[in-house]
C-alpha cells in the first residue's frame, strides 16, 4: 500500500517543482521517489495481505512484478534527463503524468476485485493518451494520441460489457467469489463465456496482442520515443501481469474456454509480429512489431497455467523490459544525433566510434533474439518449459520458428553496426544516460548467467 502512496505522492511533489523553475531537481526527485517506492515494495515481501475489504491483495506475485516495473521506471527516468533537454514547456507535468500512470500499473498487479482492475486500467491508460500526444506540434504525435485514445476507450467499453456479463451471472465483483461460483457450477453459461471473451479481448487490446495490435505500430512510432519505451515495457508488463492474475485467480475454472482465445492470440502475434517486423525500414517500427511478437511469447507462459507460469513470466518480463529499454535508449541517441527517421542505415558503423553504445545495442538485440549468456535465452527457455509441461508442444514449435525468424531483423542491426562503414562521430551522452545503459546491460548479462535468482522467487 505504501508503494502506491509513494508513487502517487511523488507525482504530486513533482507537480509542485514547477513553481521553483528548477529543472535540475526533477530527475533526482523522481528517482528518489521511485527508489523509496521500491524499498517499501520489497518490505512487503512474504506478507500476503488483503487490504480494504479484499479490494487489494499484496502477495509475492504483485511485489515481484512491481519491482520489475519500478526498475524499468527508474531506467526510463534516467534516460529522460537528456531526452527532455531541449524541451522547456510542461516537462514536470509530463513526469507527474508518468507517475500517475505508474500508479495504475501498480494497481493492476495487486487487484483482487473487478473495480480495482477497472480503475487500474484506466489510471494507467488515461495519462498515456496525453503523454502520447505530448509533442503537441507534431501531427504524428497528435495522431498517435488520438488513435490510442479511440482504441483505448473502445477497449474500455468492451471490458465493461464483459464485467457486466460476469456480474450478471455471478452477482459479485470479488475475484475469489467469482472463482468459487465458476467451480461450483457444472456448466459454464454462454453469458459467462461471452463475458470472459470480452474481458480477455480488452486486455489483449492493452497489451497489443494480435489481432488487436493494429493500433500499436502507429502509436509506438508517433509517440515521443521515451513514452514509447514506457508503453512497450511498463504498460505491457502490467497488462500481462494483470491478465495472469485474473485468469489464475478468477477464471481458472473456465480454463478450457479462454485457452482457445489465447491460442489464437499467440499464433497471430507470432505471425503478424515477425512478418511485420521483417518488412519495416524504420527501427522504431520494427521494435513495435517485435514487441507484438514478444507478447506472443509472454502469453505462452499464461496459457500453460501451471506452477511455472508466474515465475517464467516474471523472468521474461524482466529480460524483455531491460532489452527494450536499452534498445530504445540507443535509438533515441542515434535518432537525435543523425536527426533522421531512425532507419537501419543510421546505425551504420556505430561500433567504430561508439563501441559502448554498440555493445549495449548488441546485448539488447541478442537478448531479444534469445542467444545464451543474455537473459533472453533463459527467458524463452523457461516459457517453453512451462508450456511443454501443460502439453502445448505444438505452440512451442511455432514459438521456436518465430524466434528463428526474429534473427533476421535483430541481426540486421548488429550487422549494420559492426560491418558497415559510415562517417559517424562520437555521440554525446550525459551521465544519467550512461548509468541507465550500464544498469540495463549489466542486469541483462547477470540474470542471463544466473537465472535461478529470479526463477526461484515466485
Amino acid at each position: 500500500m505504501l508503494t502506491l502512496i509513494t508513487i502517487a505522492a511523488t507525482g504530486i511533489i513533482i507537480l509542485y517543482t514547477t513553481f521553483f523553475k528548477s529543472r535540475k531537481l526533477l530527475v533526482p526527485i523522481a528517482i528518489t521517489g521511485a527508489l523509496t517506492a521500491l524499498a517499501f515494495n520489497i518490505s512487503d515481501w512474504n506478507t500476503n495481505q488483503l487490504l480494504f475489504n479484499n479490494m487489494m491483495k499484496i502477495d509475492n506475485y504483485s511485489v515481484a512484478f512491481n519491482s520489475v516495473m519500478i526498475l524499468s521506471l527508474i531506467l526510463i527516468l534516467l534516460l529522460s534527463h537528456q531526452y527532455f533537454k531541449g524541451v522547456d514547456k510542461n516537462v514536470s507535468e509530463i513526469y507527474s503524468l508518468l507517475f500517475f500512470s505508474f500508479t495504475g500499473a501498480c494497481l493492476l498487479t495487486s487487484f483482487n476485485n473487478f473495480t480495482m482492475l477497472f480503475i487500474g486500467i484506466e489510471t494507467m491508460s488515461i495519462p498515456l493518451y496525453v503523454l502520447a500526444g505530448s509533442k503537441k506540434f507534431s501531427i504524428r504525435s497528435n495522431e498517435a494520441s488520438f488513435k490510442y485514445f479511440i482504441m483505448g476507450s473502445f477497449a474500455t467499453a468492451i471490458f465493461l460489457l464483459g464485467v457486466a456479463l460476469v456480474y450478471g451471472v455471478t452477482g459479485s465483483f470479488n475475484m475469489s467469489e467469482v472463482s468459487e461460483y465458476i467451480s461450483a457450477t457444472a456448466k459454464i453459461s454462454s453469458l459467462m463465456k461471452l463475458g470472459i471473451l470480452f474481458i480477455v479481448i480488452s486486455i489483449g487490446f492493452k497489451i497489443a496482442a494480435a489481432p488487436f495490435h493494429f493500433w500499436a505500430p502507429d502509436v509506438y512510432e508517433g509517440s515521443p520515443t521515451l513514452v514509447t519505451t514506457y508503453m512497450a515495457t511498463v504498460v505491457k508488463v502490467a497488462g500481462i501481469a494483470a491478465l495472469l492474475r485474473l485468469l489464475t485467480g478468477c477464471f481458472i475454472g473456465a480454463a478450457a474456454e479462454w485457452q482457445h482465445i489465447l491460442e489464437a492470440f499467440i499464433i497471430l502475434s507470432f505471425v503478424i509480429g515477425n512478418f511485420g517486423a521483417i518488412q519495416q525500414q524504420s527501427v522504431k517500427r520494427m521494435l513495435a512489431y517485435s514487441s507484438i511478437s514478444h507478447t506472443g511469447f509472454m502469453l505462452l507462459a499464461i496459457i500453460a497455467i501451471n506452477q511455472f507460469s508466474a515465475s517464467s513470466l516474471l523472468y521474461y518480463s524482466l529480460s524483455y523490459s531491460l532489452a527494450t529499454i536499452a534498445a530504445f535508449a540507443v535509438l533515441i541517441l542515434v535518432k537525435n544525433y543523425k536527426n533522421s527517421d531512425a532507419s537501419y542505415e543510421s546505425f551504420n558503423g556505430l561500433a567504430k566510434h561508439n563501441p559502448f553504445l554498440a555493445f549495449v545495442m548488441l546485448t539488447a538485440m541478442l537478448s531479444m533474439t534469445g542467444i545464451p549468456i543474455t537473459a533472453g535465452f533463459f527467458a524463452k527457455y523457461y516459457v517453453f518449459l512451462a508450456s511443454v509441461k501443460s502439453g502445448y508442444s505444438w505452440l512451442v514449435i511455432c514459438a521456436i520458428i518465430a524466434a528463428l525468424v526474429g534473427v533476421a531483423y535483430y541481426f540486421r542491426i548488429i550487422i549494420n553496426m559492426y560491418y558497415k562503414e559510415s562517417n559517424s562521430e562520437k555521440i554525446i551522452k550525459d551521465n544519467y544516460f550512461v548509468i541507465s545503459l550500464i544498469i540495463a546491460t549489466a542486469i541483462t548479462l547477470a540474470v542471463g548467467i544466473l537465472p535461478q535468482f529470479i526463477i526461484g522467487l515466485i
Binding site: 477497472f118 501531427i139 488520438f146
Partner: protein, 109 residues
C-alpha cells in the same frame, strides 16, 4: 415506492438486457460507420451508458447495491475520458484543422 417495486416485478430482466445490448451494438456500429471523430466519441459514450444501464438492471434485480456503485465509477471514468478526448480533439483541430479520421494517415507511410 410500491409502484416502482411492482414495475421491477412486471418487466422481465431479459427485456432490459436486450435493450442494453441493442444500445451497445448501435454504439459499436456508429464508431465504424461515421468518420467524424466527435461523433465517434459520442458513440463511445453511448456504449458506456448501455453498460451502465445493464449494471443497474442486474443490481436492482439482484438487490445488490455493488453493481450501482460500479456504475458510479464508470461515470467517473467516462467524465475523465471525455475531458481528455475532447482536449486531444482540440489539439488536433489546431494542427490539422479538421476532425476527419481519414486525414490522419501520416503514420502509414
Amino acid at each position: 415506492m410500491d409502484n416502482i417495486t411492482t414495475a421491477i416485478k412486471l418487466i422481465p430482466l431479459e427485456h432490459y438486457v436486450f435493450l442494453c445490448f441493442a444500445l451497445f451494438s448501435i454504439g459499436v456500429f456508429g464508431i465504424l460507420f461515421r468518420r467524424n471523430t466527435i461523433v465517434m466519441l459520442m458513440c463511445i459514450e453511448l456504449m458506456l451508458n448501455s453498460v451502465n444501464l445493464l449494471f443497474t438492471a442486474f443490481s436492482a434485480y439482484r438487490s445488490d447495491a455493488a453493481g450501482q456503485v460500479f456504475v458510479f465509477f464508470i461515470m467517473v471514468v467516462a467524465a475523465v475520458e471525455v475531458a481528455v478526448g475532447l482536449s486531444i480533439l482540440v489539439m488536433m483541430k489546431r494542427n490539422v484543422n479538421s476532425v476527419d479520421v481519414n486525414l490522419l494517415n501520416k503514420l502509414k507511410n
